[in-house]
Amino acid sequence: MSTLGAALPIRIRGIEKKYGPVTILQRLDLDVAAGEFLTLLGPSGSGKTTLLMILAGFVRPDAGSIKIGGDEIIAAPPHRRNIGMVFQNYALFPHMSVSQNIAFPLRQRRVPAADIVRRVTSALEMVRLNGYGERRINQLSGGQRQRVALARAMVFEPRIVLMDEPLSALDKGLREHMQLELRDLHRSLGMTTIYVTHDQREAITMSDRIAVMNGGAIEQIDRPEALYAHPRTHFVASFIGESSFIPVDIRDGVPWFRDAKLQTTARTSSSGRYLMSVRPEKVRLAAAGGDDGINILAGVMGDVIYQGDSFACSIDIGDGVKLTMRDYCREDTMARLPARGESIRVSIAASDAILVEAG
């Protein structure tokens, strides 16, 4: 059995899963570094939970290989994989006390009774539930249950830890608190962790890297900042953060929107139809005509939606294309805001204009 000190890398190759004619996962490859916190992010039906279930051994893929630190585990039954898993609804055993729940994996491994007591106590300490050992599960709050589930999944020092939307049952405040707590726990213990969520904010807050999944494949895998700044596909750009899309034609390596020549620092192919993805906070009202490296687009001011600390407004730039612009509510910006229907010009820096594949 490995210890938490020696986290192991995971190497996933060619995972395929079909249910009848429906493809859930298509030849998926993924590498997770030792001690990394990797998040599988995607909408429901993207295959992220299936991949997690395959890793844990509850779903059998049609083909593929999973190696943890070099050991092939693809055909191993769940109880021999030595993987800790935190379930969406915690799956704590209601007929056992908190201590009995945490002791369960140790009893299965025939750990001596004295060691069990010691390790359960330290696991409870780790999740700051000292003295809760004799409680019943139904006497705990949501956050406490979450901690028990964590302690139970880690007490046997598994090779890797899997988490299936573990915070989705908590309310917003507690969820944000637990995100930080999980993050800290991971930092101090350093176990290789694969985390599944459909909440992009959660993924960005917690992960070392995020794998964005869609339609049974990984669309893009990168550090959170890189994913946000440089989405490669339409899906990633719209799933992580907000984006407006301007359809562009690329002729001789230059993107055109209608008759306006646009600038971008992104690498382009020589021709074809692309989408220019723009984050709302990168759109600015243009004061005067274009400097180099700044795109200027003419448009018509639309509705302003007040959102407390910020406001968002939509700007029609012709051909039914709408840009969203977002800014903080400061007195100066608010005062200078054009009225609805007014003709305006907006600016987008070339470095903020990202090209993604159309479709």
């Binding site: 060619g14 059998r60 049609d62 092939e72 055909a75």
Partner: protein, 303 residues
């Protein structure tokens, strides 16, 4: 790391053979859990009924023929049995609706706690042996039974009324036994009707009576249908009560099967009767698209 290439099969799927083998093993495990129960059902249900079906296709000399089925439509006595059976089944179902719907409606409108007490009165007979209940009716209704004694003592009648050994007796006994099968699913479906639907209809200007007829009744139909189908199908194949309360004068389908088999030992004819009964039952169930489910559990002793 190179080993993954070694594991690759011709079409490129990694570890495909291993995974297939594992999948097969898992299927076998599930099959092993299932098979003892299946074996018992095969031995005591499928094989006997399959055999009866085969028997029905041979005449008394052992030659293949449809004689057994032809007789069912040719002989008056068989036709009479069918008519009697359907008459009783329809009457029992009708009476069950007339008695069961208001009862289920009342129980569904009462506060749960009080309704529970009423439900016990429905469940207790449901859980009591059919024999015990039929015996009770014999005690009550026979020529010198309790009801006739009361009636003569009170001077209402001078001659005892023949309650049993006739059509009415069978209907009374069967109604008593089958009523819970209608009330229980109906009550469950009425309980699940959203009271806000009724409040909404009253709010929209419907009178209480209109609200009942136009909102409550249509919503309760699914529960009613499943109860009705259950009662009807069970009465078609009912044996014990007609055998004891019909006095040999009211011959229903199941009794006819029993007589043909044990009295005349004509297995071909008995089997043909049985097959027709089974097919009729299945057709009715199919027609109502009666889904096996929680409702089937309520029919736990389909005797």
């Amino acid at each position: 790391m190179l080993s993954s290439q070694v594991n690759a099969t011709v079409d490129g799927g990694l570890n495909q053979d291993t995974l297939r083998r594992e999948a097969r093993r898992e299927t076998w495990k599930a099959f092993a859990l299932l098979s003892p129960g299946m074996a018992v059902v095969c031995l005591a249900i499928l094989v006997p009924i399959g055999w009866l079906f085969a028997l029905s296709l041979f005449d008394e000399q052992g030659r293949p023929s449809f004689e057994n089925y032809a007789r069912l439509v040719e002989q008056r006595s068989y036709i009479q049995t069918f008519i009697t059976t359907f008459q009783i089944a329809f009457t029992v179902t009708g009476v069950c609706i007339v008695l069961g719907y208001p009862l289920a409606y009342m129980l569904s409108q009462l506060p749960r706690r009080i309704a529970q007490i009423g439900l016990i009165c429905v469940l207790l007979p449901f859980w009591t042996s059919v024999l015990v209940r039929t015996y009770a009716w014999l005690v009550l209704l026979q020529r010198r039974g309790l009801v006739n004694t009361w009636l003569t003592d009170l001077g209402i009648v001078s001659q005892p009324i023949a309650f049993i050994n006739n059509f009415n007796g069978v209907v009374i006994g069967m109604t008593h036994i089958l009523l819970p099968f209608l009330v229980l699913p109906l009550y469950a479906s009425m309980r699940s009707i959203d009271k806000d639907c009724l409040r909404a209809s009253l709010n929209l200007g419907a009178s209480p009576i209109a609200a009942f007829w136009q909102v409550f009744l249509p919503l309760s139909i699914p529960g009613l249908v499943s109860g009705v189908v259950m009662v009807f199908v069970l009465s078609l194949g009912f044996y014990i009560t007609p055998a004891l309360m019909g006095g040999g004068r009211v011959v229903m389908w199941a009794m006819r099967i029993e007589q043909t088999a044990s009295l005349y030992t004509n297995w071909g004819a008995a089997s043909a009767l049985g097959v027709v009964l089974l097919v009729t039952t299945l057709i009715i169930l199919g027609l109502f698209q009666w889904r096996l489910g929680s409702r089937a559990a309520a029919a736990w002793n389909a005797r």
